[in-house]
Symmetry: C3
Subunit: 270 residues, 3 copies
């Protein structure tokens, strides 16, 4: 009978305080699944494609209204756009967009990085694909939404901050536009928050393997006032991976010293 | 008796976890009322006028200290200022300030938009009115604090983001200063977060009615790194309202697909 | 027996909703202690020095990797760096760094202020010390981590915002680099969020004592889009303290009118 009361009270408490608000903002996105067809029908909006990790929504517009199209500043032939917009994360979305652009007949028109992560230390993201046909735009968004579960695999967070590691054997147009990654070459990205952890991870990565530094970014230099240090680098694919793995090892220890054991958002892929 | 225990436990739980912290940041402001005289006496500070929606405080300074006055860069004759400062929201505060400036003998001296919303995706606001007399400054703040309950009426939020719609039949100086709204004409504002939802709402609005786009703003273009797309527009008052209503309809469906049903902060007015 | 059930339920509730998430973000850091040697061994990373208030981590790198060193743009002789990186607070960290630079053979190489405070209204901080020898860098970080408990003493917060007051009888290189404080002179700093409270505190401070205003900063002018007004000033040490005390008195009343009584993060020192 004690048990019964307990359950009743717990249900009431959970109902009144709301599920979402008691999860740490950096982890709130873990719960989302790539939507099924039934969800899509439920929304009942032709522009809706789906949602995924990091409070990310995927949308399409078949024929962008002319005044709005002009403001975007993209080629007139791209009358359709695919929109990939997330509250938490920029790296995962950019890497997923990179796969999408490789797999479809689209171009990356816009990459803008707001300061967000729902109270966390990092970016959100707005990525717009241009396409001549709406079916191409939709396909790009579908690929990106699906791939986002993979690219969130090496995002680790606790209440004190987050770490992110990305790798591709062959960078494409999204990585090039966002990070100046040389197209067709192996590319690595390291993000650490608070920023000091990013700095030490960067130092470790560059010492661990023979890689070529593309860029070093800090809160007011190249980032949107996030509390991060970010480096991007290229090189031999083995070296790029080795640098990432070394950084990940030290980063998890340092972030873990500030709070709980940092957990990956999905399944590590590097 | 079960009921009694339940109530006792709930009271204890609510006391220990605190009211504010378990409500999603975008909704935390719902609880506030325009303060009564007794609250004001309790504060015991002559500069205090009141508080309202969106963690907004209204203040006046009768004679701004000269060094500070110079830093503000406003006309010397405005020795008094009214200060309207909110954690959550810029649009609602600007629209309320627009009514205040119409109703009083004041000018809009400063509009600055921090990145805030207490962990949400949008702006906070700092609006300073200049006045020759402190009674005018106080009156402007009183009008703005009161009108803020109305202008939060078409702000909708859930844990994933927020939507905002504003309408005035006749824009005045605050809308002009903040948004380049033509003075005396109907004016509409649409805000969507995450940004992708703002984009689709903008496209829908511009297709729904014959309105004239004033501006298109995105996270790094015209906004304070918020995760929003914002459009402003003018036109015939019926067309402006029609565009707003069309955007609101699709926006609520899209944001609702990412989380709970988006609820208005107060009572919709459009 | 009611008592027993109550306790059991409360334990369960607290376990399920998690300790961290029900504390206001501005206060979450109160729980941290300056780490002991055993913690350090637990981390097992030579770069780790310790953690302190405001989710701040202290780190050292003995020999910064050459490509990274070049990106920092600091003198080549400073091959070692000390890194002082916090999620919540810039003023407390800068004041603590000021003491560290006085006490050690180091220089302030970098001060960058992200928009952070974990969903609060203010900054985080990234401060990098340059040193010719890693033992000097380590010593600087140790001094700064320890002093941070003091400099968080006049930081007051509630769910609606925060107030900060800092004082030094003799400003050194960190205050000079971050705030243009004249070296060797008394220096005061006032921060208020939401910004309107900072404005009224600034006005009060400048009227309360004969001090010289160094700078006035607002969300988009000199700050990283925080929802704050900040002033910095110098003068006779008694006057600087008098101005700070007057501002603190009115600030606590105004912020208290918006929410709970603002509590100091540690022990007030002014």
């Amino acid at each position: 009978m004690d048990q019964e009361i307990m359950q009743k009270v717990m249900d009431e408490v959970m109902k009144r305080i709301g599920g979402g608000s008691v999860i740490s903002p950096e982890k709130a996105s873990d719960q989302k699944e790539v939507p099924t067809a039934s969800v899509q029908n439920l929304v009942g909006v032709t522009e809706y494609v789906g949602i995924s990790e990091g409070d990310t929504i995927g949308l399409v517009v078949a024929n962008v209204e002319p005044m709005l199209h002009e403001k975007l500043g993209i080629d007139k032939k791209f009358r359709s756009v695919g929109i990939f917009s997330g509250r938490t994360g920029a790296g995962p979305q950019i890497m997923a967009a990179d796969e999408a652009v490789k797999a479809t007949n689209t171009e990356i028109a816009v990459i803008e990085l707001p300061r967000d992560t729902k109270g966390g230390a990092g970016h959100g993201s707005l990525i717009i694909f241009g396409a001549e046909d709406v079916s191409d735009a939709r396909r790009a968004i579908e690929v990106a939404l699906k791939d986002l579960r993979r690219t969130f695999g090496d995002v680790y967070a606790n209440d004190a901050g987050h770490l992110e590691f990305q790798y591709t054997a062959r960078a494409s147009y999204a990585c090039n536009k966002a990070f100046n990654a040389p197209i067709g070459r192996a590319f690595g990205l390291i993000v650490g928050a608070p920023a000091g952890i990013g700095f030490v991870m960067s130092d470790t990565a560059l010492k661990a393997a023979e890689v070529e530094l593309i860029d070093y970014m800090s809160p007011t230099k190249g980032l949107s006032l996030t509390n991060e240090v970010v480096i991007t680098f290229t090189g031999d694919s083995g070296a790029v991976r080795q640098a990432l793995i070394a950084a990940r090892s030290i980063g998890k220890k340092l972030l873990g010293a500030m709070g709980a054991e940092p957990e990956p958002a999905t399944t590590p892929y590097i």
